[in-house]
Symmetry: C3
């Protein structure tokens, strides 16, 4: 296990992550991926510790992935989901978090539809000197760090399955296509991919990609980052090594940001024909769940020579085990 | 543990089950029943393996039974239930299943309100050479194999508690009463009971039992099967060794298949008076949950000398442990 | 572990609890509190046993607390919640309980919005000689024993952290403020606190505290109990050692029992100013979730020198471990 260099307590945003941080996550995930290839896919690392999934926004996929990661580390898992909750009884989110703190939570995995909620909870838990670590599992349109880290791990494995690391990403062209403006996945990926030296190309219609979008990432940062914007698909795909499409939320139609799903697919949907512009050996990623025939064609999604989508899900468990391990084993 | 003869991968339907298959399930359930009689009712058989309950149709009873069976085999359990799910986000059922495959599921227990969904998923998982085993936990009006197998195990225990097996079922008269047309429980039981040599007598009003219903089971089969249809209750009960009543769905009234619950109970409801026509020592079964006073009288349901209903629930855990064990320990 | 004196099977009400019973719970909770201070907060006490949470009324906080307590005792936990349940299919509550009995439940933790349901289930389980123990996790406006026991443990720790016991409660003045009439928490606390020799002072508007309320507790009891009623806050707070405020349900307004939340807070809400009437060193309790600014001011709730609210939640896990341990390890 490689965690000597890990100095982070919470994982709320990737804005401040360094290449060394990314490498630590990738190398730790490599170890856990080996565990997952065994028949007994379980280690006693977090035995007796409690991982609480506080999902104020409904989710199955991400919650299941964290739940499985925690169970494979032998942690006890408490799931909280809005609905049958005290929130309907008027309790504040901070009070809910403090209740789970008082029950003995060691790590809180938090999803909320408003940006900043995991940060607010982490700040309060630090003020109370609780020692509890917070992992942002998606907050509004802000960030979704574990998704970007599993994407990164998937890319590293794709580039060098035997000895995965972040170095081969240097200079690679990665296109991110779709509703970038509203995507926490895109934001977290922008931080991670550019920090690892990839050239990130964004492609979306102007209503989903404001002209000054990339500037916020390049000017605010201490690392050099290459981010290029396009309002057409073609220049983003041209000689791209990887293409990442984002999920299109249906409500964008009612907001008049897009004329129709069909037109969106005609302009930004990925197909075998369009993919020919990319670098030979190009691979596709999608955070899921996919709207088949919208973000990409069904044929493309099911093409094992091109799609890394199943690998992303598999990487998700290993990367989340790595994160829970790094956060849970940090001395307090 | 007796599994040398087990050659099945998925359990989707009992149509092709042989007497040897039934005997393997019964003998394996006997072993697990012994485990359940200990103070520590747990074995490490499936430690580190993941059982995913994909319940696209709501259920408490069956889901709890599978969850407990899996936990007692030391498996990790992931519960998926429609509602907070990605399905509302437009993901296909196959994509949901493939997501859990990619997360590392070893066995998928699937319930869906449409017939054939577990089969479709199993076919796709086989096409992907996944090695994942699928257990049909009820698909529309098609089949509910684990329910019929727990019914079978309950009958075997009732006939010979010390040395349960399928042989004593030979020539026994078993009446199945109620909404046969819409019942997946009836269909699975028809396969299992007739294959084990029991004489199965069906009793229902004509709207719930078409004239050609039984033919589909006897003509399609390589085994000799005795299935007799009745549109009255009396001839089915006459000298019956066991009577199995089916749950009556309330919506049958609105579909005009039945005049009223009261009239149904008068014609097909079981009472102490009616049961006198049966063989002395007759026992009753019901898959639950029971509508007291409809399918059978409250007095009958609560009569421990006649009702095997609690034994069915207890058998359910042992039989599901047996199925998960047989499916999970098969070499890949 | 101190359980030689424990003779109770179910925990349905505190009406018959003796000081020796309270002391057994407190001393057992002390042991488990020590377990919770370790890094690996888990013991194998209930390994292989099944704790079923039957929550017919929605709850997150109490259900999570019981779930965590059970998991830390290494029990397997089955959660039942109304909604996706057979109850919507017409099954009776007793039949639901008997289904979980037949599945192999060892302890049932039951919450229901009607008073008496846990008692009814316990009576039926006893009639069946099941050996299953029932823990009332809140039934209507009747009782919530585990809440009162965690309150008691919190008071004992506050009075003597090193050597907690019930003796120091003798003669202490404890005010209970709020919607006493509708509160199961108040009722259980009335039994426990008065049995341990504390002077219990009730304060509420007359619509929430009938004149003869306390009489039911003092006349029915074999123990001497001191319970004093007030329709104003001031005399209850005067020189109080502890103040326990109750959650105010919003529906009390629509029932015309209270003019407005604001007026309620002006008359019965706790603030730093009001607390000055109490004994120096006074501490506050609240069963949660709190309506900030109604039952007590936000400032008071967040004042670590005054509020025992987080300690109550922490005590909850230790006390529930103690109860499950005492109930689960009783010879059958």
């Amino acid at each position: 296990m490689a965690d000597a260099q890990w100095t982070r307590h919470h994982v709320l945003s990737l804005a401040e992550f360094t290449p060394a941080d990314y490498d630590t996550v990738v190398q730790t995930a490599v170890s856990f991926r080996e565990v997952l290839s065994r028949r007994t896919k379980k280690v006693p690392t977090l035995q007796g510790q409690v991982v609480t999934n506080l999902f104020f926004e409904p989710s199955t996929r991400t919650r299941s992935s964290f739940e499985l990661a925690a169970k494979r580390l032998s942690a006890d898992v408490l799931n909280f989901a809005t609905g049958s909750s005290s929130l309907t009884k008027g309790e504040t989110i901070l009070d809910t978090a403090k209740t789970y703190l008082a029950m003995g939570a060691d790590i809180m995995v938090i999803r909320h539809r408003e940006a900043g909620v995991p940060h607010t909870i982490a700040t309060e838990l630090d003020r109370l000197a609780s020692g509890v670590a917070v992992l942002n599992a998606g907050d509004g349109q802000h960030e979704h760090p574990s998704q970007a880290l599993l994407d990164l791990f998937t890319l590293c494995l794709s580039l060098d399955a035997k000895n995965p690391g972040i170095e081969p990403l240097q200079g690679k062209k990665i296109a991110i296509v779709g509703d970038i403006l509203h995507s926490r996945v895109a934001r977290s990926n922008l931080w991670s991919l550019s920090a690892c030296g990839a050239e990130v190309h964004l492609a979306a219609p102007p209503t989903l990609l404001p002209a000054d979008f990339a500037a916020a990432f390049t000017t605010a940062s201490s690392l050099p980052r290459t981010i290029v914007q396009h309002w057409q698909l073609a220049p983003a795909l041209e000689r791209a090594d990887f293409v990442m499409t984002l999920r299109l939320q249906q409500e964008r139609m009612s907001q008049h940001r897009l004329p129709s799903l069909r037109e969106y697919h005609q302009q930004f949907g990925l197909t075998h024909a369009r993919i020919r512009q990319c670098q030979p050996g190009v691979k596709l990623l999608h955070p899921g769940p996919v709207n088949r025939g919208v973000e990409l064609s069904s044929e493309l999604m099911d093409d094992p020579a091109l799609s890394l989508i199943p690998q992303q899900v598999t990487s998700g468990v290993a990367v989340r085990m790595a994160l829970l391990y790094l956060m849970g084993s940090r001395p307090r």
